[in-house]
């Protein structure tokens, strides 16, 4: 698809979601809101995984840290949206900047292991630093922000539109990023690091910037999530969250932004419908993953693309 058609398809999808939302019953609307937020998270991971070729297994860390920042600040200190957003994004980005220093030197499986370990550190903090995070209990009662608009974000529909607008902005920003000269460099690194070095690129710097930017957008999703869920707990930073997100990217089609958004939507709805019937969600998730690897290694979007090999 040409760029214009991709943008058109994306805008249509957003408009469609915005258009049907008022007619949806409460539960599907909740799920759609969740899908929109998780889509931002999955797209942020894809900047690393699909575009740069870096499989991070600890991406929930940046998402979760931003969510915790919002949870703690808005409940304990009554901080408003601007403060929570600023602090959440700053902390997520700073954590990614720190962790990136440790992770980016490693490649392949080592990168996977280091990001996994760093993710576990954050999970450990969420679990053990009880005075700050309330440990296993998590932080409940996160209030929805007040924007000073006629509509209160505590109602599901206005909050959905709020999430949709933020997600659209994040999507547009990431869309420009992956199509920029810098973004082309990321794809070059995915394909051949040695050639990139020979052409004059500091591969380390490119990867590091991608890592930090990806952490920033994971933070955007984390801030939305804390407000949406009204609760932040260790589940938000645990390994399963990172793995689920990786699966969303793999399922939808890595190296595209629409793919992870589609994957996120599919997984969110699947997860909620499946859990009505069984508690074995992880088993189903695993089966889906194996299916994707076997039958659609380039994801749902990749399988339908005509330039497929």
């Amino acid at each position: 698809m040409t760029l214009d058609r991709k943008v058109f398809a994306g805008v249509t999808a957003l408009a469609l979601a915005g258009g049907v939302a008022p007619f949806l019953p409460a539960y599907p609307l909740t799920l759609l809101t969740q899908a929109v937020i998780v889509a931002v998270f999955a797209m942020s991971l894809d900047v690393l995984l699909g575009y740069t070729g870096l499989p991070s297994l600890g991406h929930a860390a940046y998402f979760g840290i931003a969510a915790y920042a919002v949870g703690i600040l808005s409940t304990e200190h009554q901080v408003g949206l601007a403060g929570c957003l600023g602090a959440g994004l700053l902390l997520a980005t700073a954590t990614a900047a720190l962790f990136g220093l440790l992770a980016i030197r490693a490649t392949g499986t080592y990168f996977l292991m280091i990001t996994l370990a760093l993710g576990m550190v954050v999970w450990g903090l969420a679990f053990r630093w009880v005075s700050m995070t309330k440990g296993d209990n998590g932080i409940a009662g996160v209030p929805r922000p007040e924007l000073g608009l006629p509509w209160s974000l505590s109602a599901p529909l206005p909050f959905f539109y709020f999430a949709l607008v933020v997600a659209a902005l994040a999507w547009a920003a990431m869309g420009v990023l992956v199509r920029s000269p810098f973004g082309l460099g990321l794809r070059g690194i995915r394909e051949s690091e040695s050639r990139m070095r020979a052409l004059g690129y500091s591969v380390w710097l490119h990867k590091y910037l991608a890592f930090v930017i990806s952490g920033f957008f994971a933070g955007v999703a984390g801030v939305l999530w804390a407000y949406y869920n009204g609760f932040v707990g260790p589940v938000d930073v645990q390994l399963v969250t990172s793995v689920e997100t990786l699966l969303m990217v793999a399922l939808g089609g890595p190296g595209t932004l629409a793919g992870p958004a589609l994957g996120a939507t599919l997984i969110v709805f699947l997860k909620n419908f499946v859990s009505v019937y069984t508690k074995r969600w992880l088993l189903i998730l695993g089966a889906v993953y194996i299916g994707v690897i076997l039958w659609a290694p380039r994801g749902v979007l990749g399988a339908f693309r005509r330039d497929a090999r």
């Binding site: 420009v176 920029s180 000269p181 082309l184 794809r187 394909e191 051949s192 020979a198 052409l199």
Partner: protein
């Protein structure tokens, strides 16, 4: 000639892989604008030497200077910034990107544009014009929209050269540009190298001695990591040592 007049100067450069000394005490000095061939049998250490010069591998001992500047410890991308470009013996391109995107990567590699992330590529028409010009130089202009995977082997070898030329290098390392090409394609490739701007210093690895000697006047022969002969083509041809081990005569 004073040291800083060399385009490339190697002193006592060695590279050990475990117990194997793939490059062993090599000294080499190449004048600006010179065309030099590096020949030698399989496993002689030619590619390893290129990897040392380009910074892809660190040296075990010795020093390397580019245009009078010591780069022994410099990262590969810093050496590229000094005007060094290379091609690879085993085609090393960006397989799922288009030919134009491959060339754009090469064009922006030495410019600060490579870090721009606030505007799409389409807003950089000057970069694209330069990339297209680099493609035209190797007669790949009409393949700009194809992905690398869709190119023939010969076309991929041409793109190898285009990427190296796109950054307007001062020193060009060509690692067997004719590898895997038919005799006809090899000849075209040799013509292309001969047509290059005479200001560019070229160091050429070539398996086929006839092709090498057609392009260059000066030859360095490597054997088991050591320089065993160095001189004009006639001198090298006359060397009994070279005849014995390289030409097998």
């Amino acid at each position: 000639m004073p040291a800083d007049d060399w385009a490339l100067e190697l002193r006592d450069v060695s590279k050990a892989f475990g117990g194997l000394r793939a490059v062993d005490g090599v000294a080499l000095a190449v004048r600006p604008g010179e065309r030099r061939a590096l020949i030698g049998p399989n496993g002689a250490g030619k590619t390893t030497l290129f990897n040392l010069i380009s910074g892809e591998l660190p040296v075990t001992t010795g020093t390397i200077a580019l245009f009078g500047q010591d780069v022994t410890r410099a990262a590969a991308h810093r050496r590229a910034a000094l005007g060094l470009a290379r091609t690879f013996q085993i085609t090393n391109l960006f397989p799922s990107l288009t030919v134009l995107e491959n060339c754009l990567l090469a064009v922006q590699g030495l410019s600060p544009v490579k870090l721009a992330m606030h505007r799409p590529l389409t807003r950089y028409p000057r970069q694209e014009a330069r990339a297209r010009a680099a493609l035209d130089e190797v007669a790949l202009g009409d393949r700009a929209g194809a992905t690398v995977k869709q190119l023939s082997h010969g076309e991929q070898r041409q793109l190898e050269i285009a990427l190296a030329l796109a950054g307007s290098p001062r020193l060009l390392l060509l690692d067997e540009p004719t590898a895997g090409l038919s005799p006809g394609e090899s000849k075209t490739m040799a013509e292309l190298v001969k047509r290059l701007d005479p200001a560019i210093t070229v160091l050429l690895i070539e398996h086929d001695m006839d092709i090498a000697l057609e392009i260059v006047r000066h030859v360095t022969v490597l054997h088991y990591g050591r320089v065993i002969a160095d001189g004009t083509r006639d001198e090298v041809r006359a060397s009994p040592l070279v005849r014995e081990i390289y030409l097998g005569a």
